[in-house]
Structure formats: C-alpha cells, structure tokens
Symmetry: C2
Subunit: 140 residues, 2 copies
C-alpha cells in the first residue's frame, strides 16, 4: 500500500514534468512502466525537440536526502548511449521546483550508489530551462 | 472482446518490432497507450540510435487493404515535427515481414484518409534495415 501510494505520487509528478516539457516545445512522454516491450532499461521520461534529446530518471521525495542505486544509473547511461540522449536525474523535492542533476556530478557512496542531498542539489542542480538549452543560469 | 483480441495482437507485434530494433542497436520502446501523461499524439513505437530517430504508427492486418485515418497521421507528423523524428507507418501483413511506409507516399482517399494496399506496399515499402540506414535496397 505504501509503495502504491509512492508510486502514484511519482506518476503525478512525472505527468507534471511531461506537461512542462510540451509547454517548452519539447515532445515528451512517460515511458511505459512495464518496460515498453523490452527488458532493456528505459528512463522515466523521454523528450526531444529535434536538437536536444533528454532522458530523465524521476525522483520525488519529501526528505532532504535520498539514494539512487548504481544499477539504475547504469541503465540510464546505457539507454542514453544507444538512443542518443542526455541523462538526468530529475528531482522533485516537496515545495521546490524541478531540479536536474547530471549523474556524473552526484556524490557516490562507498558502495558506489548515488547520494543526493537537498542542500547540494539546490546548488549544483540545473533548472528545466537550462537542460532544455533555453537559458543559461549565471554562476559566480 | 473482439477489440481486445485485436489490441493484444497489435501489442504482440509491437513488442516484436521493439525487440528487432534493439537487435539493430537502436534503443526502442512502445509508448504508453494512455498517452504517456499527455493528450498530445504519440506514435506507437519510438526508436533512436543517436543519429536516426524514428516514430512508427503500427498497423497489423490479415487483409490486403486497410485505411488509416488522416487525423492519426496528422498526429504522427505533429509528434515528429516537434520531437525530431522520421514518421513511418509500420505494417505487418500476416506471413510477411515488416514493411515501412512514408505517409507522404501513401495513396489518399477522397475523404483524405490513407489507403494502404498490400500489392503497392510490397513495392513501395521499405524494409527495417533501410529505414535504420543500415541498408540501401536497390530499385530499378
């Protein structure tokens, strides 16, 4: 039950992200949870505008820290390498707008998984417009 | 019931196509039938290899002729224009391997829908390797 609830919550956030992407003139979709007829790894959301193709692993959380299993990121890289897309972890912390992280910039744990902390994500993360090539955030 | 049966059949063929695409080193997926969190038009199958991106509307039939509604093709074009993909109708006639048709080359009816005849599709259609840029079929 708990899992279902989290799962539905995640879906709602994914739908929100897909709508935002269309609003930015990207064609976007949630990929099928069943794997879309393949056991190959698929990202949660895929989008493109003819120039930029992005694949997003979506994480929604009410916490200030969470972990992502390395196998999940390996799968994201594998998909992106073949399809031709830029990999991102799209993070929706509660009450905060979408933040996007390049997996390569995320801290690793000793067991090689990925640790995302809200405080650093807010600094290192990119905004939607930035990953879509629509804006450059100034950094000093 | 009849519709469900046809629907499942189509799904099986779509899965087959997705597997064939991965075998050709394209990352591919069936798109979610619910529209993937968007009411925007989505193709049945989407694939890419970093150079070529293709969006396929899948039709499976036991007949020698079938029609495709113009609105469906309009939707395919719309998706492809935004996402950056080449549109195809992927046709699986029973007992015959996959054939791919560019919508623009398909005959139109007087009501502006698309009419696909097996006899002409076998001549005008492209094979999977051709649309993936892996092969050029000689035509005299």
């Amino acid at each position: 039950m708990m899992f279902d609830k989290m799962s539905r919550k995640g879906s709602a956030e994914e739908r929100d992200l897909v709508h935002k992407l269309w609003d930015k003139n990207f064609a976007a979709m949630r990929t099928p949870s069943s794997g879309g007829a393949t056991k190959k790894p698929l990202p949660d959301v895929l989008a493109g505008n003819g120039k930029i193709y992005i694949a997003i692993e979506v994480k929604t959380t009410t916490r200030n820290k969470f972990y992502v299993d390395s196998h999940q990121i390996d799968g994201l890289y594998e998909f992106c390498d073949i399809f031709g897309a830029i990999p991102y972890i799209g993070v929706k912390f509660k009450y905060i707008k979408w933040i996007f992280l390049s997996p390569e910039k995320i801290e690793r744990t000793r067991s090689d998984n990925y640790r995302v902390e809200k405080s650093t994500a807010l600094i290192d993360g990119l905004e939607l417009d930035e990953i879509l090539g629509l804006d450059k955030q100034l950094r000093f």
